[in-house]
């Protein structure tokens, strides 16, 4: 009688997995629709990135289209506007990673220092309300404030700070600042939430020990709060770096106009214009695929650097 070799360790492992699954079957049941949704709508459509290597036309299968290899990538990189797109993308996302990243941290630290609970909650609520306003409405508010007849210009002229209105919305040189500030106004409060919850998790005894050691308020922040929330900061930083080529999309379509286009046109708006509006899906896919590969590479590298230097990593 032949004995089939059986890997009992494997059988044991499967048994353990099954047991774990069975024990947590309610949680798995809860997750199951989401997993199906992600597989169907996030992973399955990924085969569409192949469009980047073909001259795809809707109505024809991808593999029935002409294979062009890296032609779309080459055409995009050799496009005269490529450097301008890259410049705008990196400039605005860098502003977002510096000002936009540090502002919620500073704001959350300041909120924590507010003693009066009601005032603290009021400030917090007011700060994250803009998050719920759509960019269409936010754009109208920006226009109301910054147009030539707007509130800011009227104020500046009435206070004799300027003779003529400042063309905030029609001069490209102002655009990055307008975009960054508008984005900050809209996202500051919401981004603060995660830091507030991290700060709330800091052990009170550490602050008491710090007080005993003679630390003032700034010292508490510097030596206790920030080191305690450092894992959260690093995690969000790693994710933020991965999105360095994401510099907004709908904001530019709303806040921008042709006069400022050479400052707001980014990779995503170019991809939309050529890929969706003009129907050149292959070009749009190539641009997006390039962005995704670069973004993933940056996340991976940042994660490794963070693990090496700070012993903190996302994965």
């Amino acid at each position: 009688m032949l004995l089939h070799h059986v890997d009992w360790r494997r059988a044991g492992k499967f048994k353990r997995i099954w047991k774990s699954f069975y024990t947590q079957r309610q949680l798995w049941l809860l997750c199951f629709p989401i997993i199906v949704w992600i597989l169907l709508f996030a992973y399955y459509p990924m085969y569409g990135v192949l469009m980047a290597f073909f001259n795809y036309t809707p109505g024809r299968e991808i593999f029935q289209s002409q294979f062009v290899g890296l032609a779309h990538f080459k055409r995009f990189i050799s496009n005269p506007v490529f450097m301008q797109l890259l410049r705008n993308t990196l400039a605005m996302s860098s502003l977002g990673l510096t000002i936009g990243f540090s502002a919620p941290i500073i704001f959350s630290l300041m909120l924590t220092e507010i003693g009066h609970v009601r005032i603290k909650k009021l400030v917090q609520t007011i700060s994250y309300l803009p998050h719920f306003i759509s960019w269409v409405v936010a754009g109208s508010i920006v226009f109301l404030l910054l147009s030539s007849d707007g509130v800011i210009n009227s104020l500046l002229i009435n206070l004799d700070l300027t003779e003529q209105s400042i063309p905030f919305l029609t001069r490209g040189q102002y655009y990055w600042a307008v975009y960054t500030l508008a984005n900050l106004w809209k996202s500051l409060g919401w981004s603060t939430i995660i830091y507030l919850s991290a700060i709330a998790g800091v052990d009170e005894e550490l602050y008491q020990a710090g007080a005993i050691d003679g630390l003032g308020r700034l010292g508490m922040v510097r030596y206790i709060t920030i080191p305690s929330i450092l894992p959260t900061i690093v995690l969000l930083w790693i994710l933020g770096i991965g999105g360095i080529l994401n510099a907004g999309f709908e904001q530019h379509l709303i806040l921008g106009n042709p006069m400022t286009q050479n400052y707001w046109d980014v990779l995503d708006t170019y991809s939309y214009r050529y890929g969706i509006q003009l129907g050149y899906y292959s070009m749009g896919t190539a641009v997006s695929l390039m962005k995704s590969i670069i973004g993933f590479s940056l996340v991976y590298m940042t994660n490794r650097i963070s693990r090496r230097l700070l012993d903190l990593a996302l994965f």
Binding site: W37, T57, G59, V81, Y274
Partner: protein
Amino acid sequence: MHVRLLSVLLVFGLILAFSVGCQSETTTTKPVVTTTTKPITTTTADPRLTINRFGWTVPAETLTITGYNSSGNFNMSEEQKQGRANMDKILLEEFNVIFNMITTDGNGTEYLNLLLASGEYPEVIYNTSYENVLRLIDLGKTKELSAALEAYGQDIKKAIGDLYPLFLDAEKKLWYIPIGVGALMELPDWSAHVRWDEYKEIGSPKIATPDDYYNVIHQILERFPKTPAGESRYALSLFNRPADNVTGPMGGSLAGYWGIKSGWKVASDNSLTYWPFTEGGKAMTKWFNRFWTAGTMDPDAFANNFDEWKAKFSNERIVGAIGGWWITYSAGHEVWRLVDPNFHEDKRFVQVGFKAPEAEASYVTGKNKYGGSNTVITDKAQDVGRVISFINFQATEPGLALFNWGVPGKLPTYKDPNTKIRIWDIDESGAWAFDETSKEQLVSETFDHPASGVLGFGNYVLFSHVNRWADGVHCVWGNQMWYELNPWKTLLIQNMNGTIYDYTPMVLRQKSESVVLLETAIIDTWRQNWPLAVQAKNDAEFEQLWTAFQNAIKAAGIDEYTRIVEENYKTNITELG
């Protein structure tokens, strides 16, 4: 136990939300069918088919056509929804036809792409751009129509007339049918505008040149520097960021006052020069710059969209206007008539024509006879002949009337069923006539356009032409007839006489991907750089910015684009004889 119940409830909720979210956002709405009324059919005793009062041969079997209306952003008012139901009723009862219209409230081309990718496109795709037509031809999804047109579409061919060869491909095959072919050559589209009552107040000085218009606008501004509400006014403003509506997508259309045709200077040998490289284009830009340096142009002129411009215009903050003749109607007296208790008939803008002294003529309105959109019969059509027969009917006068003026006879309005509205009527012998009351209202510009939505016009137009009909009077647009009875339209036609030209041979239709990218780059470049030149602070800066503008256009590839457009123009001139 609670956790288990909560889990099950949450899972159920997620599945429900998932299935709701998967519902289609677009509609294929079936027409309203009244079961009490039977469609007209032949009887076994009489083998002849019935011809209805419109001249349509009613088929024995109901003709069902499914068509995708690819104009996009589809949104019907309540009047229009009722109108569509009225149209569906008459089509079924008197024509034995059911038209299933597929629409989308999003972008029409994007939805068309989805239909193509999923294979769920219908037998007819209409209101689609020429670029989409070319793509459908390339995909092999269109039916060739020349034979069917010969057999069933003689009225279509007659309506297209001498332009027919332009719609054939290199192998003389026809793959689509144009909608809106032809042109009303006496009707101007674009002009400069001045407010009539204010113009009369300053003595109605002559406006023969661009400088005259500039001076008149500033005289009015000096006389009336503030609005009735006390707000400051601007001599001029623009919209559509910047001013596509004024200068056209390729820019420079308003340079027509300086002898430029839709952005091109045409030489005697039919060679073309793009407007930034012409004296006329520079003069036009310098003319706008005069407003800017005088401080009388709206600082947001290059940032306004139409609604923002309209708000300022309706509040009387803008003295002059440049653009389509209808913009000062819809933003001007049509608003003031409703909101101004002191409204009087002279409180409206009139259109003015002028010509730069050095120009041979003013070329402000270029008429494109290709039509605004197209109809394609796809490879899913079972019987092309029957579909062409239906489209051919739309080329006859009763067909044009039915689908562009609406259902004949008096119909109750949506807001007040006791009030009836009618644009036209047709009797059993086929004699038709335009309603006199509606005619008077259209001439006096008091016609209730929203209420007329119950007549159901405009939804199922697979073909139309915009030329005058056989009597030389009627056309598809109710408000473009009987100019001689409307003093304002008479003034419009008179003032803009000589500024209209046939732009058809200059239209570049066959565009490869590289040409489209080139064209888009040029459009982006002029949109970014022309306003900078207009906003120059002095002559030296203007010259510098103008040179920079020219260099930017060159870098965008204008030389190659000019070569392509010129070749196309010369070929079309030959084709059209």
